[in-house]
């Protein structure tokens, strides 16, 4: 299988879907002439022209809403947010328009739109530029949320998201774009991963680490450390947070009887609160220890290098949490 970057995997997905369906277009800041702030749309302007690869003004509320409108009348917009931090000022169109439209119209008007871009922190970008935005989106019924952590997942899930008839928030990671991994050759057929299917990224029998997005890679590092200690961790990568593969979580917890949730964002009403709630409601009798969450420190992201490092969740904290649910210290 060819090994490509996460960035190129997204680029392939966009190109293939645009090739397949003329109603798909990409709009956002710097996506055309500049090839995208993170070069995800490299070469697409040349391939598809200005009609379909469109540089927008810095008007997030405006172009998010324009996308929703276009979707309401049958196009399939892919709206790029340079980062999801900037989508906070577009949330009205996402939550009040995109998420509710199908319901408010009694099923008359679907909104097949994708909002995509990086979420979460990169390096020393400080408080306004380092936020995991999952909760703001997934909180609202009517939105789907996809968070690929590997190149293959990025490609297969973006293709599925573009074909989906509901609004999908598709959250990438600045620090993932250069990540390499195997992705099926485009010549070997259409590679689409359905939404709502988790993926066990590592099998193990001692403890379950449930996670999503960029943190999958941190979980793998933690599992490698635990393995040296004779602990086999199972990693359940949710991949999509709504729809959520509840069965996959329960299956793993039934096996290991212990779980840790790892996420990049803040703990309060974070993704982990939902997962923990599901586990205790639906697998209480299987648990040998309370479920523990590993998150960002409950503060805005500081700039100073040393503070940022301790604010972020990392493999060491995951190891610590696993040991805790295993009563190993």
């Amino acid at each position: 299988m060819p090994v490509i970057t996460y960035r190129d995997a997204l680029n392939q997905a966009l190109a293939e879907e645009m090739e397949r369906d003329d109603s798909v277009f990409l709009m956002g800041e710097e996506v055309a002439e500049y090839d995208g702030a993170y070069k995800v749309s490299k070469g697409l302007l040349e391939q598809f022209g200005e009609r379909r690869i469109v540089d927008s003004p810095i008007s997030e509320l405006g172009f998010a809403g324009l996308g929703v409108g276009a979707a309401m009348v049958g196009l399939r917009p892919v709206i790029e947010f340079m980062t999801f931090n900037f989508s906070i000022l577009a949330l009205d169109q996402v939550i009040n328009a995109a998420a509710k439209m199908y319901y408010m119209t009694g099923g008359q008007i679907p909104v097949p739109i994708v909002f995509r871009g990086p979420t979460g922190a990169a390096l020393q970008l400080s408080a306004q530029h380092s936020q995991a935005c999952e909760t703001w989106y997934v909180h609202s019924p009517g939105i789907k949320l996809v968070t690929p952590g590997t190149p293959a997942d990025a490609k297969g899930l973006l293709k599925a998201s573009i074909r989906d008839n509901d609004p999908v928030a598709f959250m990438e990671g600045e620090l993932l774009y250069n990540l390499k991994g195997e992705v099926p050759d485009p010549d070997d057929g259409d590679f689409v991963i359905p939404l709502g299917v988790a993926d066990v990224k590592r099998e193990g029998s001692d403890v379950t680490i449930v996670t999503h997005g960029k943190m999958v890679n941190e979980a793998l590092r933690a599992a490698a450390t635990l393995e040296k200690d004779g602990i086999e961790a199972e990693i359940v990568d949710l991949r999509t947070l709504r729809p959520l593969d509840v069965e996959a979580i329960l299956r793993s917890v039934h096996k290991t009887n212990r779980a840790v949730y790892l996420e990049e964002g803040w703990p309060y009403v974070g993704i982990g609160s939902q997962i923990v709630s599901i586990i205790q409601e639906e697998a209480f009798d299987y648990l040998d220890a309370p479920v523990v969450r590993v998150t960002q420190a409950d503060v805005p992201m500081p700039y100073a290098k040393n503070l940022e490092k301790i604010a972020k969740p990392d493999a060491a904290r995951v190891v610590e949490a696993c040991n805790r649910v295993l009563y190993r210290n």
Binding site: E29, E30, E33, Y34, A37, D55, S56, P57, I58, S59, E60, L61, G62, N85, F86, I88, L89, L123, Q124, L125, S126, A127, Q128, H129, W266, P267, Y268, V292, R293, T295, Q296, A297, D298, V299, P300, P302, Y303, A304, K305, N306, L307, I310, A311
Partner: protein, 348 residues
Amino acid sequence: MAQTSQAMDKALERFSREKLHAFMREMLLYRRFEEKAEEAYAIGKIGGFCHLHIGQEAVALGMIGPLRDDDYVITAYRDHTQALAKGMKPGPVMAELYGRDGGASRGKGGSMHIFGAKERFMGGHGIVGGQVPLAAGFGWAIRYREEDQVCVCFLGDAAVNQGAFHEALNMSAVWKLPVIYVVENNEYGMGTAFSRVSALPVVERGKGYGIPAHAVNGQDILETWAFMEDLVEEVRGGAGPQYVDARTYRFKGHSMSDPVSGTYRSKEEVREKTEGADPIRLLRERLFEAELMDQDELEALDREVREIVDEAAEFADASPFPDAAELYTHVYSEINEHGRLFFDGRDR
């Protein structure tokens, strides 16, 4: 015809020789400060996004210099020189870029979030257009307390495409707020030329709200200063909000991680501007021509500001990283005795 004496360069007449030297010294300070930041970034002492103001010095100085100490200034993330212009000390500004405890924002904000409440430098904001309604709020508070300060709000050309800008302008006009909105029109928002994302030029975009719109040559310190000196007094006297298109140019890449030129602007265009529209060079030529400054005096000023900048860097270097316990300070202004504030389960 070349101007050969002070008498022929009318714009010089408004200012004393000392004032003109001060202009040169200040702009050199801003330039050397940014060059030092560039150096420090290259060796990893500064991280994240770092946006330099090189080429735009005459906007910062001319638009802030004429203000009183108790007037307010607010801007976006390209904020180092505005902070200096509003009276902040180079040491704490540099230390903020270094992410140190001695930084203006205690190392928590970084390059994009310089704040000096005492100097009434109100930041340092990272979301394009986000600072504009805040400026209206300062204007509102001034009027509410029946005081006579003014607020200068800087924004980039690309920020006029944000809804927040238009909403704030309308409210400023309706309530006659003492706010001067200065668009630092450097022709580009990152890699996008303004003309590609606006059907009208910058100066037209503040119209339609009943706010006077002005245009100035932002590369000419004599023009920006004189213009602002007059305008500030009008606004202080109750003239209401103003909108200024300050035409300038960014000599460096958008941030330290972006290219100076590329598909969006040519090397030739950049060279033409850095050679023909450098605010420091333009002032130097005029002062030399009018025999108001000579090479020795210029060099002495340059030595003086280089020393200040070196000291700022030394201050930053010597300042410790924030203590780990600082992670949880300044999230809330006080500890609550009744309920829990933090939920990460970590030791504090």
